[in-house]
């Protein structure tokens, strides 16, 4: 398990080291355009989407180099392999999400956005970051990267559509209050559902991958 994680970290560094620069740029643009809802939402969403897809990209790289097969000759199980990819996805997501949440908190403290808006944006990023891999990783483990790519593309399209929708939603939510349910409860629900889907996706991926012929 540790070996697989180490291999993934090496792969992340080799293939995605540009991402650190992109993240800084995205944070900068978000900091200076927080008054503009479109820019202030698009860049964080894009960064989160990109990092949450890194687990999938690593899986595709593994299959291209046949490391996914070679790794199964090491002292690890299919479950370990799946868990490793979900863990890497969580780590890369956290590396993006946490700085944005901190930035939103600073902006809220400076009075450049409301605390409610900060909470909504943070939750939206969390939802987006968990839903994309939740829907994409399990099919990739089941059918491999060639067939699973179709689902990967479908998810990217859906998420892109979601980005547009969420940008509009944020704009609307910034102007109206939600009387029916208190914001903390809404936020808890919005977090709980993607988290449950992410965990369910992991369990399904383990089950599917254990049945797959490599």
């Amino acid at each position: 398990m540790k070996a697989l994680f180490l291999a993934d970290l090496y792969q992340l560094w080799i293939n995605f080291k540009f991402y650190g620069g992109f993240l800084l740029v995205a944070l900068g643009i978000t900091a200076f355009s927080s008054g503009d809802n479109n820019l202030g939402t698009f860049f964080p969403m894009y960064a989160v989407l990109m990092c949450s897809m890194m687990g999938m990209s690593l899986l595709q790289l593994d299959e291209a180099s046949h490391w996914n097969v070679c790794a199964q000759t090491l002292p690890c199980t299919r479950r370990d392999q799946v868990t490793g990819k979900y863990a890497v996805t969580m780590v890369s997501f956290a590396v993006t999400w946490v700085p944005f949440v901190l930035l939103y908190a600073v902006l809220a403290a400076m009075g450049r956005m409301t605390w409610e808006m900060m909470a909504v944006q943070s939750v939206l990023l969390l939802v987006m970051g968990l839903l994309a891999p939740a829907f994409s990783l399990a099919p990739l483990f089941r059918w491999g990267s060639a067939k699973g790519r179709v689902i990967y593309i479908a998810v990217v399209i859906l998420i892109a559509a979601g980005l547009g929708g969420s940008t509009a939603a944020v704009a609307i939510m910034g102007q109206i209050s939600l009387p029916a349910l208190p914001l903390p409860l809404l936020a808890a629900l919005a977090v709980a559902i993607p988290v449950a889907l992410f965990i369910g996706s992991w369990a399904l991926a383990v089950r599917w991958y254990e049945k797959r012929d490599l």
């Binding site: 792969q11 046949h66 097969v69 000759t73 002292p75 690890c76 012929d213």
Partner: protein, 281 residues
């Protein structure tokens, strides 16, 4: 305890069936899997490693049932697949760190010795290595964690004759410890002849023969004669034949040939080719 044991191991693909394979590799021995392309050698190895699920039968590796749930037993298994698949962008040093994290008994000094002895470049990414160097790196990694069993799928493919000889020597040294065993598949039958205690012939998913190598060489021989002479031999004496316009060359059981008939020794390669040709007829 047997290092490997399969009973009725079966796997079906479209157009191919590995059909009820019974193999036993005793601990401390080397078994060679010989067969033409698509005979089932790699399928057998993949079933043993749990990379593929069997449709029937059973297999145990070092006493543990083979399957995707194997974990601890793999500490004692070194594997080289026909397509060594380390992550493309990694160098030998990084691969060693991954192996050290995977294997409790990883021996870094031994790995570095293999790198030097086999002249493996350490400054190049895995994807930039030649097929031969990739294979050598795979072999070095498989032999550096004090494994009890090596499972090798075409490990000498892509190696030049000098390195091949060196690698065969390494495998031979490996089994000086009587607790260590090797299962090796190869097209290069001469390598297996040098190395193996047991030979298993696979043909179209079926096990044609599995015997001790020395016994095979003792039991079988080649004769050259006219077709009429061959027809006079006892049924079952002839196990394969190769006909030319001038004579027939036949693989025969030595004990079924009349005294006085000249029987010359057979090589494992000749034995395999003639057995397969006979089976195809």
């Amino acid at each position: 305890m047997n290092a490997i044991e399969t009973r009725g191991l079966t796997k079906r693909y479209e157009g191919f069936t590995l059909d009820g394979l019974d193999l036993t590799l005793p601990a401390g021995c080397i078994m060679g899997l010989v067969g033409e392309n698509g005979a089932g050698k790699s399928t057998t190895i993949r079933l043993l490693l749990g990379l593929t699920r069997a449709d029937g039968g059973s297999a145990t590796v070092l006493g543990v049932p083979a399957g995707p749930h194997m974990r601890n037993v793999k500490q004692d298994i070194g594997v080289v697949l026909d397509d060594v698949g380390f992550p493309a962008g990694l160098k030998a040093g990084q691969i060693a760190k991954i192996m050290a994290a995977a294997y409790e008994k990883w021996d870094q000094a031994l790995f570095e010795k293999y790198l030097r002895d086999l002249d493996i470049p350490t400054d190049k990414k895995f994807s930039a290595l030649s097929r031969g160097n990739r294979m050598k790196l795979g072999i070095a990694a498989a032999m550096s964690h004090d494994a009890k069993l090596l499972i090798l799928d075409e490990p000498t493919g892509g190696l030049d004759p000098v390195v091949r000889d060196e690698v065969v020597g390494l495998f031979s040294d490996f089994t000086r410890d009587p607790a260590r065993s090797i299962l090796i598949s190869s097209h290069i039958v001469s390598d297996l002849e040098k190395l193996c205690d047991y030979i298993a012939f696979l043909h179209k998913g079926k096990l044609l023969l599995c015997e001790e190598k020395d016994r095979l060489l003792e039991e079988y021989g080649l004769i050259q004669c006219a077709r009429e002479e061959l027809d006079k031999l006892a049924p079952g004496a002839v196990r394969g034949r190769r006909e030319t316009p001038y004579h027939v060359e036949a693989l025969v059981r030595r004990d079924a040939v009349p005294a006085g008939m000249e029987v010359r020794p057979v090589t494992i390669e000749e034995l395999f080719v003639l057995l397969v040709k006979e089976d195809m007829q």
